[in-house]
Each structure stands twice: as C-alpha cells, then as structure tokens.
Symmetry: C2
DNA sequence: AAATGGCACTTGGTAGACAGTCTACCAAGT
DNA sequence: ACTTGGTAGACTGTCTACCAAGTGCCATTT
C-alpha cells in the first residue's frame, strides 16, 4: 500500500489472527480515487487540478486532498507547481523507456528469487492466472487481460519475498499500466506465451532462465510500445491544451 | 528529492538560465530535519512521534509536520498507526537483507547502463571519489568515508540516465546508510578496492563486468553485515523492550 | 507589437475546534 | 489471580476560517 513500510496488512501474523478492518483515512481513499481517475482518463494528462475543486467533487475538505496530492506528486502521477497547483503528469517520450528499464531490473530479480523458492500454492496460482489471462486476451477483454497481467506480475514479485521489490515494482507497474493499456491489444498473445514459459522456469526452480525470460519479456514490451508509437503518432499530438477557462473579470 | 517525479532541481535547462532559489516548502525542511534526526539517532527507533511536539520542536504548525510524517511513512522511515500516531520504524532482522537485495538489482543495472554510456567527466569524478574515499577510510574518518561512498554510488546511478533507478536507489541507499554506518569500519578497505575495479569496468565500457562487480560488491556488504551482527549480538538484543513497566497493583 | 500594471485565483501555512479512537489505569466482580 | 467494565487523558483525523505570498492572465498603455 504505502511505498516501503511494512504495511500492516502485509504482515502475516501468527495464523488465525484476523485484524478487523480499520477505518481507512480519507486521504487514502482520495489517493485511490485520484489515481483511478488518472489511469482511466477522467483526469486528462496536463489537466490543472485545483484543491477545492477536487474537494468539492469528492465531498471532503481541502486537507485530505492536499495530502493525497502530495503523495501523488511524490510518486510521479502529478506535478506540483508551488503557488499554482497540481497538473496531471504528462509523460516525456523517454519516460516509458526508463520505466521499463527499471521494471526489467526489478522484476527479473524478483523472478530469480521466486524461482529460488517456488512455493507450491503460488505456482499453482500462477498457472491459473496464465490460463485465465490468455483466455481473456483471446476473447478480446483487453481491460481484464491487462488487469490479470498486473496480477501475475504482482504475484511473482511477492514470491520474491522482498518487501522492497514488491513496493518498487508495484509503483512501476501501475505507471506502466497507465501508459501501456492502449498497447495491450497488439502485444497480447505473444505476451501470454512468454508468461507461460516464465512460470515454467519458476516452477522448475531455474533461476537464471526465469530472470532472463522476464528481462526479455519486458524488452519485448518496450519494443512493442515503440512500434505502436511510431506507427500511430507521426504527427505531434498536443495533449496539453486545457486552458483553465478563466472567468471574465467584468461580467458575472 | 521526491520519489519518482522529475525533480524540478534535477532539470538542467538551457545553459545560462539560473533559477533563483525558491523558498523551500516547510514540509520539505521538516522532512529533511526528521530523516536527519532519525539517522543520527536523536529520534530513537520505536519512539512515538507526536505531531504537536515535533511542531513545537521545529517551530511550525501541525500541518507541515503531518505532511512530512506521511512522506516518511511512505518511504518506510516511520510507521503510521491510524488514530495513534507515528513511531520511528524498527527494522526487522531480515530487512537489511531485503534492502541489500533490492540494492543489488537496482545498482547493478545502473552500473551496466553507466558502462554503456561512460561519460568522460563523470568517470573522472568517479576516480576522484575513489581516491578521496580510500584516503578518508585509511585516516579513520568513517563518517566521511560513508558519505563519500554514498556520493559514489549516487553518481553511478545518475550515470545510468534513468530517473527511476536514481530515485529508487537513492531511497534504498539512504536506508542502508541508516543501518549500515556501524558496519563501515570493518568493511571499509576492501570496499574501496572493489570500487576502483568497478570504476575501471565502467570506464572501459564493459557492461557485464560492471554489473557483476556491483552485484558482488553489494553481496560482500551483506556478508559483512551478517558477520558483524553474529559476532556482536549473540544474545538477543531486544531493541524494543519498552515494556510499559507495569506498576505493581498493591504496593506503590 | 511589446511592455506594464493590476487583478483574480491558488497554494502554503496558521489557528482553533471537535469527534473518534487508542492507551493506560483503576475498580469491582468471578 | 484473572477477567470485565468503566473512566480519563492523549492524540490523531478532519473541518473550518483566515491570511500572506506567488502565479498567470488580461487589458491597457506605450
């Protein structure tokens, strides 16, 4: 949930203890709501986010919104300009590359560690996810396939048993998901074949192979993104053009 | 500075433009102050941090303190318990391992990318840092050596040209520095020899070698930490034992 | 057409208030 | 001796109101 800390819900205390749901702080809900709105495009890239506006929109006061915005800023979803406000982040062209490079490092290491300790149940779940994902892909449910993809990658990082890899890879994955969804349709089928090979390597405990497949997998994703980009957007698409619709001064 | 975003101070605009220093937001200063106090031990592990107390201590109001605390929570320096407050994080025993495993992945990838594009000036700076660091180590200035070590690692990640690696590795490094400082004395000399070899590999543009040396380097650090730990604390050292010293019921 | 001045808007920070919750403690009951 | 119930204090989470300072835009002036 948080970035690094040992999330209180991630801790598996002695089996049998079930913490009752603690009332989620508003800032958390606001944070979730905003990321969701950014990912699904309700809040377009470059859009000017005004605290009171969001507060009204979500039915809370400025405070939780501020706190959520700062977290969003820290994680790169929005850019905070002092004295002006927050803008939904507009990705630079080289950003996806860097994101995927980081992901390659994080997740290939995760895959290696997962293969080093291939828990039976987890591997079964992986196989299940592969099957489901390929099915969704084939049936054209792109959104579902992307979500399943995220779930699979998430599970693999968790199998690494490394809290930090989980957190970092989680952040990166969510960002990738934001940029990547339009690419998924073309990339899909091959991607799921690779997943299947990857799961096999993990299940066999073949560290090097698992790490390498994951690395290549990410690399293929990167290539697919670029090909699509080159083909689809030869003309500059100006994403940012949301003039804040200033009110006239005189009339009202 | 922040976690992922393109830090506004990291941007090197067209040469010649010199942004006047903008008054740093208070929350930033508070954040810095608190991490410093945590690292140097002024705020002991497990200590309960009270907002108004810190606010008074730093001469600001609650709000900036809250914002700083939330960031500290996101980055794992403190644990925030809803309705109760923040406690300075108490590291689990396996945490250093996980931290160093993550660091191995992040920095060995960084070293690889740095070697792929070994900027002349940066390499010169690296060599300089190696010399300085070894000197400090020899002269017994541990604090300085640790700082120089951080600087060297930081520069290498920056040479990767990958904003995300820089951010993540930066976070991890700061955390490592927190746990690691007591280990530095014993580890020092060998560490700086490895640095020298690493810099040579980068300067030669030998990707694989650079990545591997960095990985082994981190692994050695991990081993050193464990040896020290095993030697210095054979008896369980309960860091958190603030049993509330239950008062006897009868006598007083 | 470009510089200038002014204005509206937004954030950053402060202060105070209040409900909900967490902890500790105490007392009575079993 | 152990559990239960109750009480009190402390602290957070959230809201409201407010002010100073900074930012960007517009209209006017040059």
């Amino acid at each position: 949930m948080t970035t690094i800390s040992a999330g209180p819900d991630a801790t598996s205390d002695s089996p049998g203890v079930r913490h009752v749901k603690r009332p989620t702080p508003l800032r958390e809900s606001v944070y979730e709501a905003l990321t969701e709105m950014i990912i699904d495009g309700t809040l377009e890239r470059g859009r000017h986010l005004v605290e009171v506006e969001l507060a009204g929109m979500l039915g809370v006061s400025r405070q939780p919104v501020r706190e959520a915005l700062q977290r969003l800023n820290n994680e790169g979803w929005v850019d905070l300009r002092p004295g002006f406000g927050a803008m939904v982040h507009v990705p630079a062209e080289d950003e996806v590359d860097q994101l995927l490079a980081a992901r390659a490092a994080l997740e290939s290491e995760s895959a290696r560690l997962a293969a080093r300790n291939p828990d039976k149940d987890a591997v079964a779940k992986l196989k299940e996810l592969c099957k489901v994902g390929a099915g969704l892909q084939e049936s054209g449910d792109i959104d579902g396939a992307v979500r399943t993809n995220a779930e699979l990658h998430g599970l693999i990082t968790e199998m690494s048993g490394n809290r930090f890899l989980v957190d970092f890879a989680g952040q990166v994955d969510r960002r990738v998901r934001w940029y990547y969804t339009p690419v998924a349709p073309v990339r899909g089928a091959a991607s799921w074949r690779e997943h299947t090979r990857l799961v096999k390597a993990i299940s066999d405990g073949d560290e090097d192979k698992a790490a390498q497949i994951m690395r290549e997998h990410t690399e293929h994703t990167r290539k697919a993104y670029h090909e699509l980009q080159a083909g689809a957007a030869p003309e500059q698409t100006p994403v940012v053009e949301k003039k804040p619709t200033r009110r006239r001064r005189t009339t009202d």
